[in-house]
């Protein structure tokens, strides 16, 4: 009973953070800030949802598998985010302050 309640709380929290990540993905202004929003889903949601699911098992091999899943997701998540950000950076994408600065420069040059 207690485990069920605890698991429900964890799952609801996970769902909330998941929605937050999705909203952030649409709301944030540029690529780099959006990656931040997605990384909420990457890290916290993984932990909360998997922990919530672990409490619903009979504490057997399924629990272990869920735990291993969480470990791998936590290892691959940041790697993917970093790969995305690095290739965007090397492709010449500017961050928000930098693109503002270059806009102002080009305006000055224009006038």
């Amino acid at each position: 009973m207690i485990l069920d309640t605890l698991s429900a709380i964890l799952l609801i929290c996970g769902a909330f953070f998941s929605v937050t990540g999705a909203v952030g993905l649409f709301k944030f202004p540029d690529f780099f800030t959006r990656v931040h929003a997605a990384s909420v889903t990457d890290s916290v949601v993984t932990l909360l949802i998997v922990a919530g699911l672990m409490l619903r098992t009979n504490f057997d091999l399924v629990t272990v598998k869920l735990f291993i899943m969480a470990v791998f997701l936590l290892l691959t998540g940041p790697t993917a985010s970093h790969a995305l950000a690095k290739s965007a950076r090397h492709g010449g994408l500017l961050t928000l302050p930098e693109s503002k600065a270059s806009d102002e420069q080009s305006k000055e040059r224009g006038s």
Binding site: F17, T20, G21, V23, G24, K27, F28, P29, D30, F32, T33, V35, H36, A37, S39, V40, D42, S43, V44, L47, L61, V64, K65, I68, L74, G77, P78, T79, S81, H82, A85, K86, R89, H90, T95, L96, P97, E98
Partner: protein, 167 residues
């Protein structure tokens, strides 16, 4: 040379054990066929590792000790703290958003710890490591506040002590 050999034998033995446990945990069946298939895969992977190690010449040690566990728990706390910050930013007005990008010096951090440090930065929401070279780590953050926290060097210190004592 012989010490290096001893170390790599221990390294291989640990990996063999870890992989065998991993197989048993994931399969959960103890029939002869599946167990022998598991043994075969473990031997195959360990043979590959052995070959790679002799080419590489660098034997990385598994830092799976109590200190690493303590670092993980601390990192989990950081992840929750910073996700709550990012969540606040998502649900508040986005005009307050001021992303920054800075280069943090990393030449005082041991080589092995840099990977851990950069990955920890990316794992915590709100900060993202973008590029790394010999002296600097480019970090993008949603708020200046999180950069200040990184620049205070708490995470870097924790990551480097881990490697110093573990190796």
């Amino acid at each position: 040379m012989s010490t290096h050999n001893n170390r790599s034998i221990i390294h291989i033995a640990i990996w063999g054990l870890v992989l065998a446990i991993f197989w048993v945990l994931l399969s959960g069946y103890f029939t002869p066929l599946l167990l022998s298939l598991g043994a075969l895969s473990v031997v195959l992977v360990v043979a590959l590792l052995w070959k790679m190690d002799s080419i590489d010449g660098q034997v990385p040690l598994l830092p799976l000790n109590l200190k690493f566990l303590r670092y993980d728990i601390w990192l989990l706390g950081q992840i929750f703290k910073s996700s709550i910050q990012v969540t606040k930013l998502v649900w508040s007005n986005t005009t307050t958003l001021q992303p920054v990008m800075v280069k943090l010096p990393i030449d005082h951090i041991p080589l092995k710890a840099r990977v851990l440090y950069a990955n920890s930065i990316t794992l915590t929401p709100g900060t993202l490591s973008i590029d790394i070279d010999d002296e600097h780590l480019s970090v993008h953050a949603l708020q200046n506040h999180s950069i200040m926290e990184l620049a205070s060097g708490d995470m870097a210190r924790r990551a480097s002590t881990l490697v110093k004592d573990g190796a």
